[in-house]
Subunit: 330 residues, 2 copies
């Protein structure tokens, strides 16, 4: 399901990261960073909610707005009951919609916000997300046994909060179109190889996006998935050729492989994950390139593994979904 | 945040319930019912996903549509990772958005769907939800100790799946307007008194809805909250008078008190809850009254307690949110 928009713009964005992301190649580009995973809070969950809340505070400051100027906040995260989002936004007293597409939640939020702005229902919307390495480990992989090695295909949940302000006021970046993805089940059930779980969902969404808009893969200066990691990235490249005859490798990268120095930061294995991973890369690295017109058209293809520990214990497959947003420098 | 719509209609709806709901006063009105909580599945989680999926199948059959006629499915439920929704929709291969507002998830879905239809982006959308008494008990209250009595203020998570088809094709019921609620924190932290947690959120949304549209409480033939239960219902009536000077009691009821026979079904305590509770009452009892023009205007005020067991263990309050949708017989 692909829509084009006439009057939706990205005004600004904000990023707050944890220590591992600070040490990565984009570390100096974040608005705020922390040297430890607690960032002044007593629990990982509260730490995560604070990262998200700080990203909203920074965004309000950067855009010179107060909370009362904001029509709507849409946010999603990995915590059960989307708690990081709902606790973080409780201090703003603004209308709120919680969303869940796992690591594709941020783009789901951007799609809903764009549709509401384009339809004239609202003037602007903050879209937020967060994830936290330890709150995710605790929730999804508890008990994590000491000494149990993870395979190289495992990814590393990123720590941070990130927000953007979408608006009907013209800026230098517009939301050109979006594609809502389909839940894909290709029989994968390994929670330590999410790249393989999500690659077919990304392929499905990229193909439908290009086909619906009758676009060649070279229409975009960059196609970026997030967050497949090094193994999932190669699976996607191969799968796009074998399944659709489309060669994406010339203008394609995966945001999960861009957040860390994979050669030095060995603990991240195949790369970053968590909904904030692609948001941190997009807002700190890609948006500035669009603003400087170094690139003109980017397709962001967020990928989410709809991983339920309960269902995996019950021998069910892990489903995946991918949502896409096309950003254009103007 | 309140919007009015010009061309959004409810075409039909569907309901599948578990055994407790079947025994209640609306039992004979559901499309399908089960006599036990497993409904042929091996786990409670799979049972819940099946209830949701069957409600979609029944809705497609009632509206004489195939899955390929559907532009979008929006669904939310209480299971972590919104798993009941994402597993249930995986068989339809349709664009999907997962949402989370706890027991207000169904109305959040109706709001997003209505905005997309009204803007012309899509022609129709299935909005679904589910909940399951035992999957909820297991997830939110495990370990549930034998012999530990619940207080009378506790509510009972309803079991079922429910769906509706919203469309731009004119029918006899239109989605007239909606209001997106705000996360409200009034210092409540008792997970066995959710009515008290949610009543202020419902009051806030009702007040903003009426004030924004400049409507008197008597504009509506019925105002229905869901799911405050008997205690929360009285709190809301009192709170609306004390806080806003608005007396709602003449045309007000709570859907959590309508699903069961509270005198006979003592195990439900203060009433039903879970996102399917208000959906089952709305689709089986209220929609038929609108179709027969026994009532003309209804305001559905779904209430969600954003209850995170993890945050409650950490001595945080339970936040709440409430979203409203106005339905009109035409």
């Amino acid at each position: 399901m692909t829509y084009k928009y006439n009057k939706v713009y990205l005004q600004d964005s904000s990023t707050v990261s944890g220590p591992y992301e600070k040490e990565g190649p984009l570390g100096s580009k974040f608005d705020k960073t922390y040297d430890n995973l607690y960032n002044g809070e007593k629990t990982w969950e509260k730490a995560e909610a604070k990262l998200l809340q700080e990203s909203i505070d920074i965004l309000l400051s950067k855009t010179n707005k107060t909370k009362n100027d904001i029509d709507l906040i849409i946010s999603g995260d990995l915590l059960n009951q989307v708690t990081s989002s709902s606790y973080a936004v409780s201090k703003y007293d603004r209308p709120f919609l919680g969303v869940y597409s796992a690591c594709a939640s941020n783009v789901e939020g951007m799609i809903i916000a764009s549709t509401m702005i384009d339809s004239g229902k609202i003037d602007n919307c903050i879209v937020s997300t967060s994830s936290h390495n330890m709150s995710s480990e605790k929730q999804f992989r508890n008990p994590t046994e000491y000494g149990a090695p993870k395979p190289d295909t495992a990814t590393f949940t990123s720590t941070g909060g990130a927000s953007c302000l979408l608006t009907n006021e013209k800026t230098d970046i517009r939301i050109e179109s979006t594609t809502i993805g389909t839940v894909v089940d290709l029989g994968q059930n390994d929670p330590l190889n999410m790249g393989a779980v999500m690659a077919p969902a990304a392929a499905d969404t990229i193909y439908k996006h290009l086909a619906t808009l009758n676009r060649n893969v070279n229409y975009y200066d960059l196609i970026l998935t997030g967050d497949l990691g090094t193994y999932g990235k190669q699976i996607l490249i191969d799968y796009m050729i074998s399944e659709y005859g489309i060669d994406i490798k010339n203008n394609y990268n995966d945001m999960g492989t861009m957040l860390y120095d994979l050669d030095k930061q060995k603990q991240v294995k195949a790369g970053g994950s968590g909904p904030v991973c692609s948001a941190l890369v997009l807002y700190s690295q890609i948006i500035p390139m669009l603003k400087k017109k170094q690139i003109k058209r980017v397709l962001i293809v967020a990928t989410g593994a709809l991983f339920s520990p309960t269902f995996v214990y019950q021998h069910e497959n892990i489903n995946a979904i991918s949502h896409a947003v096309s950003l254009e420098a103007i």
